[in-house]
């Protein structure tokens, strides 16, 4: 199976889980950093590293804001990120059908 079919940014398991989680939200919805962290069971530093890579690829937007006096960070999948995730799962499904036949 040619590796070029699968997006290397998403293919790392940790980032795949981040993208899959954000893709489960409706488009136009954002998730707070603590909630995402809790859902994935990752350390804050580890999650930040992966989010930075996803942000650099243009797949995720990171919005820093304040709720009262508390700083808050929200994450959302970009249109590009959602398309990349859909391409990725479509490629996996194609591989699965090919392998299952």
């Amino acid at each position: 199976m040619p590796e070029t079919e699968l997006d290397p940014v998403i293919h790392a398991p940790a980032r795949l889980r981040v993208v899959a989680t954000l893709a489960a939200l409706g488009s136009g919805d954002e998730l707070s950093f603590p909630k995402l962290q809790k859902l994935l069971g990752m350390t804050a530093g580890n999650l930040s590293t992966h989010l930075r890579k996803l942000e650099d690829a243009g797949y995720v937007t990171v919005t820093k804001t304040h709720e009262g006096r508390t700083p808050a960070t929200y994450l959302a999948l970009t249109t590009r990120g959602r398309a990349a995730f859909e391409d990725y799962t479509a490629a996996l499904n194609t591989l699965l059908r090919g392998a299952g036949a």
Binding site: E3, A14, R15, A20, A24, L25, G28, E30, R97, G100
Partner: protein
């Protein structure tokens, strides 16, 4: 491909080595992660329908049992035998206490559950959800004023009883239709239509049958909906697991 492995946590049981992830397992991982994300951000319709189903079924059955009388000749007796004609009476205070306690409990559960699930989310769905929540508040605030106005105008206890149940069911039915539109849910649309039918049928049945119709059709409707939602969920999971398990042999050479 493996340069980021140092970043990935290796301790979790659901974090298998990247190389070992075959296609089917990756798809399963994605599905589980997404199910988990939805469970953590969206209210569980099954739980809310179950809570309201129990509240209506038990609450209205109490009203029915304490309101129903059999006119047996000259005597008006409690419902015991099948003989005689059923006549209505005002339900007893204990029944109203049970009824309102259950309604308050279901309301509190709905609010706490929904707030807990949707905490930490922002954007279109959160705004839609907030407007939907306010629609319930405003609908029932208005409901209170309308009933107050009817009582001031001298409505009889029977009219008040019919109007309070009918208006509540109409508000509930219409809000479910609105929810179905906002969140694109066919199941909630059917539930909304059913609640409107219940409102009409319960009012036409007249007292004390109104309470029985509300208990069985209204409360029963919620419980059936909870059951259907549960079955649909099980079926979705089973369908999703089918092909993935069948195709576990296809490995991704990463």
């Amino acid at each position: 491909m493996t340069t980021d492995d140092a970043d990935a946590p290796r301790t979790g049981t659901d974090e298998p080595d990247e190389r070992a992830l075959d296609v089917a397992e990756t798809l399963r991982l994605i599905r589980e992660q997404q199910d988990q994300a939805r469970d953590a951000t969206e209210p569980d319709t099954r739980l809310l329908c179950l809570a309201w189903g129990v509240a209506w079924l038990v609450g209205y059955l109490c009203l029915w049992v304490s309101a129903v009388r059999i006119a047996d000749g000259a005597d008006v007796v409690r419902l015991r035998s099948g003989a005689g004609q059923v006549v209505g009476a005002q339900p007893e205070p204990w029944a109203f206490w049970v009824f309102f306690s259950l309604i308050v409990a279901a309301t509190v559960l709905t609010i706490v559950h929904t707030v807990a699930r949707t905490a930490g989310t922002r954007g279109v769905s959160a705004r839609t959800g907030a407007m939907y929540g306010w629609s319930w508040m405003l609908g029932f605030a208005c409901y209170g004023f309308v009933l107050g106005g009817l009582a001031r105008a001298g409505a009889s206890p029977e009219v008040m009883a019919l109007a309070s149940n009918a208006l509540a069911s109409i508000v509930v039915g219409l809000l479910y239709l609105g929810c179905a539109v906002a969140f694109d849910s066919r199941g909630l649309f059917v539930l909304g239509v059913w609640m409107l039918v219940t409102a009409g049928a319960a009012t036409f049945a007249g007292l004390p049958y109104t309470y029985l119709v509300m208990a069985l059709a209204g409360g029963g409707g919620f419980l059936v909906m909870a059951g259907i939602e549960h079955l649909l969920r099980l079926r979705r999971r089973r369908l999703a697991d089918g092909p993935a398990l069948a195709g576990r042999t296809g490995a991704v050479d990463a």
